[in-house]
Structures are given as C-alpha cells and as structure tokens.
C-alpha cells in the first residue's frame, strides 16, 4: 500500500519542477541565441541594394547596373526659413526652386519630395547645408556605362525601375529573379556593338542619311551579337536631345528592302529546280511587260544575262522571270516558311508586322516581291530568314541571351542543304564579280547581296531620287558563322561616290568595314576559300 506524500515531499517535488522549468527556459533561450539568431543574421548578410540584376555582354562586360542613390524628402515645418531652404536645396540638387517653395508652403502635405535619385556628390552638398527635417530614402538608378552605344537594344527603365523598352523590358523577369548581386549575360558583344555602331554612325554622317542601322548575328545559335539604330539616344538622360530617337528601326520598323530580297527568289528557284543552271541565259531588254505594268531595271543592263549575273548585277527583269516560273502561290508559301510573313517574336518587346500583298498575290505582285518591292519586313526579320538560307537551310530564332559554347540552335530544315551551299557560292560570286565588290575583304571570304530600294512617300508614290540601301553579308561564306546587315535610309551621294547613293557606294563599304574589324575579334580564321565553287566553277 502506497502512503500519501507528506507536505515536505510535495514541496520537494514542486521545487524540483520549478528548477526543471527554469533549466528548460534557459535551454530554449540558449538554442534561440546560438542557432536561431545566427541563421537570421546570415540571411540578412547579403547586399540588398539592386532591384534589378546587372546586364552584361557575352564576355561579362557591364552593360547596365543599378547604382545606389538617394531620394530626398523634406519636412517643411522644421525649416526656420522655407524660402532660403528651397533656394539652397534647389542649388544643391538641381530641383526646381519654385516647385520646392510651393510644396514647403502647402500645409496639407507634411512631406515634400525634394529630388529623386541624387548622386553621392549631390547628397554631400545637401548634407553640407545642415538643414533639419531632411530624410534620405535609399533608392537605385539604372546606369548604362556605354551610353549611346547600345541604347535601343538595351532599352531603359522608368523611375520605378520597371523596364519600358528593349531588353530591360524583354528580360524583366530574368532581371528581377537574378537581382541582388546577380547578372544576366546577353548575347551582345560590347566590342562588336561598338564597332557596328561606330561604322554605321560614320556612314550615316558621311552620306547624310535620315537613319541607319545594323545587325550582326550568329547563324547557328541565332545570337544577336550586335544591333544598332541611328539616330540613337543617351539612356542615362531622361530628356532626348535634338535629333535623338528611341526607335529601334531594325526591329520595330518595316521596309521594302529591295534587291536583297532576290536572295529568296534564287533560293526558291534552286529549291524548285526552275533554273536549268546558273549559266542559263535570260533576255533582259529595256523592260518586261506584265499586263499593264512594265518592270524596269534600276541601272542599264546588257541585252542578256546569265542567271548568276542576274543576281550579281541585280537585274529586276531577270529575277522576275525566274520568280514567275515558281508562281505567286509557291512564292508566298516559301516566304511563309522562312517566317517573313508573320511578326518575328524575340526577347525584344519591339516588333513589327510585315506588309505584303495579301489575297491579291498575282503575277505583278510575284514580280515585285521577287526583287523586294511590294513587301515590307523588319530588317531583323529579313536577316533571320537570310541566315536560314546560308546556315545549311535550318530555321533559327534570334536570341539576346548568351548561349553556351558549341550550341547549335538551328531548328527545322526549311531549305535543302545543297540549296544553301549553292546560295553561298552565288553570294560569294556577287562579292567577287558583282555589286558587292567593295566587301571583298582580303583574308576573309565574304558573300553578300546589295539592295537599293525606292522609298515610298506620304501619298504612296515612290519619291524621286530617294533610296533605301542595304547590304547583307555572310562570312566566312563557305563555313558560315556570322551574318551582317547594314541599312541606310535615304543616303545622299558624295563627291567621292560621284553623286551615287546606291548600296554599292553606301551600305557595302560600311558593312565591309564592320566585317574587317569584327572578324579578327570573333576569331574567324583566315582560311583560303575552296578552289572550286559548288557547281564546279573555279
């Protein structure tokens, strides 16, 4: 039989219980201090500055970064002399003195925003004033160290750090996910971007063109290595200067590109075997009648031309005859397969809807489309399709994100590999024997095609003496790695060009300078071209 505990025993048990409880509290506190707190401290140890990750080029060079800045707010009721405070703060920060004074005298608002995103220098000037009632709110400012060089393709952010154009908008989610010390590596090569921008800007200045642009793209990965649009703007300034433009004409504008489109007409002819051989002779004459319309040449041409010279000398009449052999329906189907008749979707938010004949795709439309008139596409869309022609015939999609070395992003086969090889030979022939001679760079076998299109005016009629010139280049042509496209909108001839403003005088030299400067940087080998072309010709 168990005896009931005495009072003394109960007190011992209660005392022991209190001791156990006390030790448990001590233990819990120890665990809290040693484990929990340290974990919390580690979590807070990372930098919490950037709302958006850095944008870098493919080699890790900085293209855009959030820099720490401050927003200044004032509590006006703490100022002894509001007018003097407004004057001093305006002088220190560049804010509008009148706005500040109105805000300080408005008793409805206890806080007044003095200035946003002030630099450390301005912050030091404000601190030096010794004014009471100022609050400095940490913020960040997007800064672009290269300034105008890649302005349109990089884009800009709004005051709340949201991307509003270019890759800043297109890569918004990636930039947010990689914030706080991370970086998003773009496909852009800052060195190539500078060279392209420099050469295109120089050419625009030399030929007094309204606008100009250029793109360099990898034909196997679809990586856009460089893209420029002139006029440009300074992304570090909120205001545009006279003549500046934020428009990326290479992605968001559509143009009738003219004779560079003959590339697709010849590709279609090879695909459909409508050309007996490149030696087949076509009558050229003074004009080619289709119903009530007559196709003319831009320049004087011989009475007859072989097929290869039709492309080399850029004959509209010859190309028309070749295109009509395939017909309008097939031409439309082929251009659709190259993605030229639908908007191109890339990481850039800027895109453009192509313009083409629609349901009325008859003989005359087939003829004009064959030499790049009556159809308008964006330069980026054109270059993507042309890259498909020369890269072995497989579709690619432009990307602005760096791809791992050795990546091959080529997709579905839309053109036969042998057609692609024939076209590369033909494009080389254009450079060695045709309108692209100025692009024949020693040491690099460049292929290409010129285009000099007429420019439609506001009333739909073509403007007299106004041209839109372009040049598509591929190098090395027998083992393609890169394609280059240079566009000039309404260039003017100079004394050196004898007054001519055709692509051979304007766009070709600019593209040639670009290729000559970027090929060594991109590691393109200096290899001799094959002794014989694909068709056996030397």
């Amino acid at each position: 039989m168990i005896e009931a505990p005495t009072v003394f025993q109960r007190r011992i048990v209660i005392g022991a219980g209190v001791c156990v409880a006390a030790f448990m509290l001590v233990g819990i506190r120890l665990v809290d201090v040693t484990l929990m707190r340290s974990a919390g401290t580690d979590a807070a140890a990372g930098p919490a500055m950037a709302a958006r990750a850095d944008l870098t080029d493919r080699n890790g060079e900085l293209l855009a970064r959030d820099l720490p800045v401050k927003d200044i707010y004032a509590r006006p009721h703490e100022f002894w002399d509001k007018a003097q405070a407004a004057k001093d703060l305006a002088a220190a920060t560049g804010a509008d003195e009148r706005r500040l004074l109105e805000g300080f005298n408005n008793s409805k608002h206890p806080y007044v925003l003095v200035a946003r995103r002030i630099t450390p220098d301005a912050e030091a000037r404000v601190m030096h004033l010794g004014l009471p009632g100022l609050e400095f709110e940490p913020a960040s400012k997007r800064y672009y160290p290269d300034g105008r060089i890649a302005a349109q393709v990089m884009g800009v952010t709004d005051p709340d750090n949201n991307g509003v154009s270019g890759l800043e908008m297109g890569l918004q989610d990636r930039l947010r996910d990689a914030a706080d010390g991370g970086a998003v590596a773009t496909s852009i090569d800052a060195r190539v971007q500078y060279i392209l921008t420099h050469e295109v800007a120089e050419a625009r200045k030399t030929f007094s063109a309204h606008a100009a642009g250029g793109i360099v793209m990898d034909v196997k990965t679809g990586e856009v290595i460089a893209m420029t649009s002139q006029p440009d703007f300074d992304p570090n300034q909120r205001k545009l200067e006279d003549g500046d433009s934020t428009r990326n004409i290479m992605a968001q504008d559509v143009y009738e590109l003219g004779s560079v489109f003959k590339i697709f007409s010849f590709t279609l002819a090879f695909e459909d075997h409508t050309l007996k051989s490149l030696d087949e002779v076509f009558p050229i004459g003074q004009g080619y009648k289709i119903g009530k319309y007559t196709i003319h040449e831009a320049e004087h041409m011989p009475a007859t031309l072989m097929a290869r010279d039709i492309l080399a000398q850029s004959s509209n009449i010859g190309t028309t005859q070749i295109a009509l052999r395939s017909g309008g329906a097939r031409q439309r189907e082929f251009l659709t397969s190259l993605g030229l008749l639908s908007p191109l979707k890339t990481m850039l938010p800027e895109t453009a809807r192509p313009l083409f004949p629609g349901a009325n795709w008859g003989m005359i439309e087939t003829a004009t489309v064959s030499f790049g008139h009556g159809i308008s596409v964006s330069p980026l869309s054109f270059l993507t399709a042309a890259a498909t022609v020369v890269n072995g015939g497989r579709r690619i999609t432009p990307t602005f994100i760096r791809q791992p070395p050795g990546t091959d992003n080529r997709g579905a086969q839309v053109i036969k590999p042998e057609t692609s090889e024939q076209m590369r030979d033909l494009l080389r022939y254009v450079v060695t024997n045709g309108t692209g001679r100025k692009a024949d760079i020693p040491g690099y076998d460049v292929g290409g095609k010129t285009g000099s299109a007429q420019v439609p005016g506001p009333n739909g009629r073509y403007l007299a003496h106004a041209l839109r010139t372009s040049f598509f280049a591929v190098f090395p042509v027998h083992n393609p790695r890169y394609v280059v496209f240079v566009l000039m909108d309404q260039p003017h001839g100079t004394k050196e060009t004898g007054g001519f403003a055709l692509a051979a005088y304007t766009a070709v030299p600019a593209a040639a300078h670009v290729v000559a400067r970027i090929a060594p940087l991109l590691g393109v080998p200096n290899v001799p071209p094959p002794a014989k072309l694909a068709d056996g010709r030397p």
């Binding site: 003394f8 011992i12 005392g15 022991a16 001791c19 006390a22 030790f23 001590v26 506190r29 120890l30 201090v33 707190r37 401290t41 140890a45 930098p47 500055m49 060079e61 900085l62 970064r65 820099l67 720490p68 450390p120 800064y143 160290p145 290269d146 300034g147 800052a190 060195r191 500078y194 420099h198 004779s259 831009a298 320049e299 004087h300 000398q313 850029s314 045709g434 309108t435 001679r437 024949d440 760079i441 020693p442 040491g443 690099y444 010129t450 285009g451 000099s452 001519f500 055709l502 692509a503 051979a504 000559a516 400067r517 090929a519 060594p520 590691g523 080998p525 200096n526 290899v527 071209p529």
Partner: protein, 120 residues
C-alpha cells in the same frame, strides 16, 4: 540532504542565469558588430559597384578609340592579323629564314579596287 540539494539547485540556477546574461550580452554586442560589419559590406559593395561602373565608363571602346585616334593609332588591316595556332613553332621542320611563315591567302590590293558597272 534534501535542503542541501535544493540550495545547490538554486545556486546552480543563479549561476546559470548570470552565465546566460553574460552570453546574451556578448551575443547582443556581437550582433551589433555584425550589423555594423554588414552595413560596411553593403557600403563597400555599393562603392565597388560604382567604381566598376566608372571603370567600364572610362575604359569603354568609344573612349579608347578616341584616345587611339588622338595618338595617331590606326586599326590594323585584317591581313596583318593572325592567330596563335597559325604561328610557326620552334620544333617545326620548316626553317624560318627566307621561308613563308604560313600560307597567307590575304593580299592587300596595291591600288584601290576598280569600279564596276554593277552598282545596285
């Protein structure tokens, strides 16, 4: 015996409380130091970020090109450029003296290229 045990427990508890206070105080001070260091790290990282950006700005291609032009430097012709894997090695059989270094396919035209009639 029980009373002695109780006294021991109470004394142990008192000592533990004092020890815990000491540890807690040290942890608080260390935490303050940590926060201070953290703020310094953030400030230093911010300063480094600013310096990196400034370096990128002053060393960008546009500025280097302008400096090169100021000092009379020109771009090298593509035919003047080669890669390391095309350079002859000491162990190669081909003697260097009087022999071509490698099969150079590039030729710089001596005169400006002739204009053609093909201009489109």
């Amino acid at each position: 015996m029980v009373r002695a045990l109780n006294l021991f427990c109470v004394a142990l508890m008192g000592l533990t409380i004092l020890g815990l206070y000491h540890v807690s105080e040290k942890a608080r001070v260390a935490h303050m130091e940590l926060n201070k260091t953290h703020r310094q790290i953030v400030a230093e990282k911010g300063a480094i970020a600013v310096l990196q950006t400034e370096w990128q700005h002053v060393a960008n291609s546009d500025r280097v090109q302008q400096l090169a032009a100021t000092h009379g430097m020109n771009d090298a012709a593509s035919a003047q450029l080669s890669s390391f894997d095309q350079m002859p090695r000491r162990s190669d059989d081909t003697p260097l003296n009087g022999s071509p270094v490698h099969n150079v396919n590039a030729e710089i035209p001596a005169t400006p290229q002739a204009q053609t009639g093909f201009q489109d």
